[in-house]
Amino acid sequence: MTFIKPKFRHPLLPKNKIGYYKADYEGAISTLCAGCGHDSISGAIVQACFELSIEPHKIAKVSGIGCSSKTPTYFLGKSHGFNSVHGRMPSITTGANMANRDLIYLGVSGDGDTASIGMGQFVHVIRRNLNMVYIVMNNGCYGLTKGQDSATADFGSISKAGSINPFEAIDLVGLSLELGATFVARSFSGDKTQLVPLIKAAISHPGFAFLDVLSPCVTFNNNKGSTKSYDFVRDHMEATATIDLVPEEEEITVAYPEGSTTSVSLHDGSTIQLQKLAPDWNPTDRRSAFNNLQSAKAKGEILTGLLYINPESQDMHELVETVPSPLNSLQEKDLCPGPEALDKINDSFR
């Protein structure tokens, strides 16, 4: 629970390039449990959008159902939002994006919303490489329905009620890599320094950008024995690299030591800078991502960071070859062939 913030803005508060305060990216007061990981992710989203100087109304927030899916109320209050039905956020976003390719689509989901009821739509939105950011606030349980195990709960993890999960977990990161996602990342709600640049990079990526964010549920799944608890994640996180997104206009000033950095250029001209921790790390090589993911898993570590990016990504509009202007901007004169054309059509049926 956050306290009510005064509307007054101090004149010395920083504005971003387009003249907005950070508060302009905030939303309503959160009603989630105090300490819920999801709130930290909301904060990171606000920070990322502020830093990228996006006009808030150029973003559409879309979610499913769950505590996680409620969060779009708590960030970007000046953006349109759509809290849809359980597990179906991808289809709403697909339709919305097809109607207007010029907005930024920020999809928020939970591990139940994505890995169970919404698995079908998740898999297919990856396949279509829809230009969107897809964030799973992953707490290994169903928060909103009071803590049942989700499909991402680790094998052998112990729920608050004390039962041991007898089933293998679905790893959404491994799955999306396997399915050919063009941007795959994992982070932790408590690690803003990693999360904010990842969200920024995901927004800049032209195509499907998947972010699996471990986000402990303080009420139902933050107990000893849960692999999605704050303590467990903090102790077992292994980052691939520190990352920074450099937007197009900005000069690259951050100095990285030679030999340990990689930079990836994105279509919009911005650059992702990675400071590698692992020497054999190559974020544009899907196989390298797989290998690192597997070896981390074998060691009981949770690999975080930008695991894979395809700089050649072509989004769905390019794949289905729609016109460059948004379909929702086409007018009657562009769309209706008129009575004369219909006469000809009638004739063809005589």
Binding site: E55, P56, H57, K58, A60, V62, P72, T73, G77, K78, S79, H80, G81, F82, N83, S84, V85, R88, P90, S91, I92, T93, T94, G95, A96, N97, M98, A99, N100, D102, L103, G120, Q121, V123, H124, H317, V320, E321, T322, V323, P324, L327, N328, L330, E332, D334, L335, C336, P337, G338, P339, A341, L342, I345, N346, F349, R350
Partner: protein
């Protein structure tokens, strides 16, 4: 056997095997009759299968324009050995069985009350064509040629159709002509022709066209400006999106770049299909989906969201035989209730009931205006018979002056004029509020769309009083809708009978014929054809004006009757169900019989005939 000659009034059935190329020959046959100026209506009776199972093509020819299905087959072309025994039984006494005499008929199949006309179709084909595939294909054209001689089809008309059909593949024209002539000549050499049932040129088509309902529906979506079509394949709706695509490719490509002014999304299932539609219309595009009963079941949760969050949706339901997978390739009107009240909670939806392809076109286009105007799902209730069969139809019309009604949408200027925007504020007192499209204004007009209860400003609330205010206001839209939906068609200037009949959709063909059959017996019935739910005052008045109303429909449970009872609080006894649900389109005869059996005192009705 003395035989009176019957001109331009017959039912001809073709018994074929699925996947043998008979469809194009059969279509050619119907088109030729159409072009001879004689009303004709073909129906495909096909299995849920791609190759090898029996399929029938039944053609009713009637110069008076009665084109509903009629029982009793006058001539049957039986080229499927598998079904021969049954096909022979189906010919009415005095009728004709035309068969491939390359193989001898089974002796036990012989009936002495019908005529047998053997044409060695396969033999002729094998004599003239080398390739087995060709032999198979041209065998079909050979029987069309034989029929031309038998019932008097103009050969030149057939040839012109072939020319048009193979315009780009000219090589195929001579063998088709040859096949026609083979069949034709065989009849001239071996039989007396024409038969007593035959055709004579007429001029009874006028400006009508022959088109499948689904094609017209797809065109309606093109004309209405739909840009996002999302769907999942299911018979009998698949050809709706196919129709949309066919014309989008011709009419919606940017000439300079070759890019598309539309997106067709084959979704992973019907849940996703309607989700995409909702996302697209929420974002300001016109969008639709087409499906059948099983798809509507899957879409139900989302339909409720669109209803409650007040998002325009156009959904075409091409109904087929249910429940479950039911009779997927047979026709019914079995989704009336499940569509009217689709989804959980208090929901009800606007339904449109086209009965001709021209209405499929018009009502689909109307559906987009209605959806935008009323901000709710609109369901176009077609069926397999209407959607997948060619029908003689008035031409498709697009009024030059027609413009899209995009309903109440605020642009940036509008928003600048408004002090405080409330998405669910009923400013005009008609139940319809103003929407905004994402991205419209930098600081104003954004809101959170949700399926949870919310107040007039789209803010989440669990306050019961607010909830009641909102759902009652949504119900007010239902009243407003009555002003916008198409009004029913009346078939008399004034009601003059004690009893009436009520019908909708494809039942119309047989119902109108049944009315005329009854009239010939001195029984006059007033009639109404319903085109939409919600029912307006005309429907109420019609029902009130009659002691009894026969409700004709094609399902087991009299669903439309239930809907009338429920929506208008009519005493159920006043509504007499007339039902057909065997998967075949209802016939005039069945309607007449049922009505007659319910009229103990026909004199009552006669007395009213002036």
């Amino acid at each position: 056997m003395h035989q009176v000659s019957i001109v331009n009034d017959m039912v001809i059935r073709f018994a074929n095997v699925n996947g043998t190329g008979s469809a194009s020959a059969n279509n050619m046959f119907s088109k030729a009759i159409f072009r001879m100026g004689i009303p004709v209506s073909p129906k495909n009776i096909f299995p849920s299968n791609i190759q090898g199972l029996p399929t029938w093509y039944e053609v009713r020819i009637n110069e008076n324009g009665y084109l509903g299905r009629r029982d009793g087959i006058d001539l049957l072309v039986g080229v499927n050995a598998q079904t021969q025994a049954r096909d022979i039984q189906d010919v009415k006494p005095g009728g004709y069985f035309v068969y491939d005499s390359t193989k001898k008929l089974h002796q036990e199949y012989i009936r002495d009350d019908i005529h047998y006309l053997g044409i060695p179709m396969m033999e002729l084909s094998m004599q003239h064509f080398d390739h087995p595939r060709q032999q198979q294909l041209f065998k079909n054209v050979i029987y069309v040629g034989a029929l031309a001689a038998l019932i008097n089809i103009d050969l030149e008309v057939l040839k012109q159709i072939i020319r048009e059909q193979f315009g780009k593949k000219e090589k195929l024209i001579p063998p088709n002509f040859k096949s026609l002539e083979l069949g034709y000549q065989y009849v001239l050499d071996h039989y007396e022709y024409p038969l007593n049932i035959h055709l004579e040129r007429r001029d009874k088509i006028g400006d009508k066209i022959m088109i499948e309902g689904n094609m017209a529906t797809g065109l309606g979506a093109i004309y209405a400006g739909a840009t996002v079509a999302a769907w999942y394949p299911i018979t009998p709706s698949t050809s709706v999106v196919k129709g949309f695509e066919t014309y989008a490719k011709k009419l919606r490509i940017d000439p300079e770049t070759g890019k598309k002014k539309y997106a067709i999304l084959q979704a992973e299932d019907e849940l996703a299909a309607i989700g995409m539609v909702i996302g697209a219309t929420w974002n300001g595009a016109r969008s639709f989906t087409a499906t059948s009963g099983p798809g509507v079941s899957l879409m139900s949760e989302f339909i409720g969201l669109a209803y409650f969050a007040e998002i325009p949706v156009v959904l075409v339901n091409v109904q087929r035989g249910g429940p479950s997978t039911g009779m997927p390739t047979r026709t019914q009107q079995p989704d009336i209730l499940s569509s009217a009240y689709a989804s959980h909670g208090d929901t009800k939806h606007i339904l449109l009931f086209p009965s001709t392809p021209a209405e499929c076109f018009e009502m689909t286009a109307d559906a987009f205006d209605l959806a935008d105007r009323l901000q709710t799902p609109i369901i176009v209730m077609s069926d397999l018979d209407l959607g997948m069969n060619s029908h003689l139809s008035p031409p498709l019309v697009w009024d030059e002056k027609r413009t899209y009604d995009r309903g109440k949408v605020l642009n940036a200027d509008d928003l600048d004029q408004i002090e405080k925007y409330g998405r669910y504020l009923d400013v005009d007192d008609d139940g319809i509020c103003y929407r905004t499209i994402p991205g419209t204004h930098p600081t104003k007009g954004s809101f959170f769309t949700r399926g949870t209860s919310r107040d007039e400003y789209a803010k989440y609330t669990e306050d019961g009083a607010v909830y009641v205010r909102i759902v009652d206001r949504i119900l007010k839209k239902w009243e407003t809708a009555k002003k916008y939906v198409p009004t029913p068609e009346m078939y008399q200037e004034q009601n003059s009978s004690t009893d009436g009949i009520l019908f909708f959709g494809t039942t119309t063909y047989a119902a109108l014929e049944a009315m005329d059959l009854l009239k010939q017996q001195g029984i006059n019935l007033d009639a109404i054809r319903i085109k939409a739910l919600p029912f307006n005052q005309h429907v109420v008045d019609f029902v009130k004006a009659h002691k009894r109303v026969f409700v004709i429909e094609q399902n087991r449970d009299g669903q439309f009757r239930s809907l009338l009872v429920n929506e208008l609080e009519i005493p159920p006894a006043q509504l007499v169900p007339v039902l057909n649900y065997d998967g075949m389109p209802i016939t005039a005869d069945a309607i007449m019989q049922k009505i007659l059996s319910n009229l103990p005192e026909p004199a009552n009705h006669k007395s009213k005939v002036l």
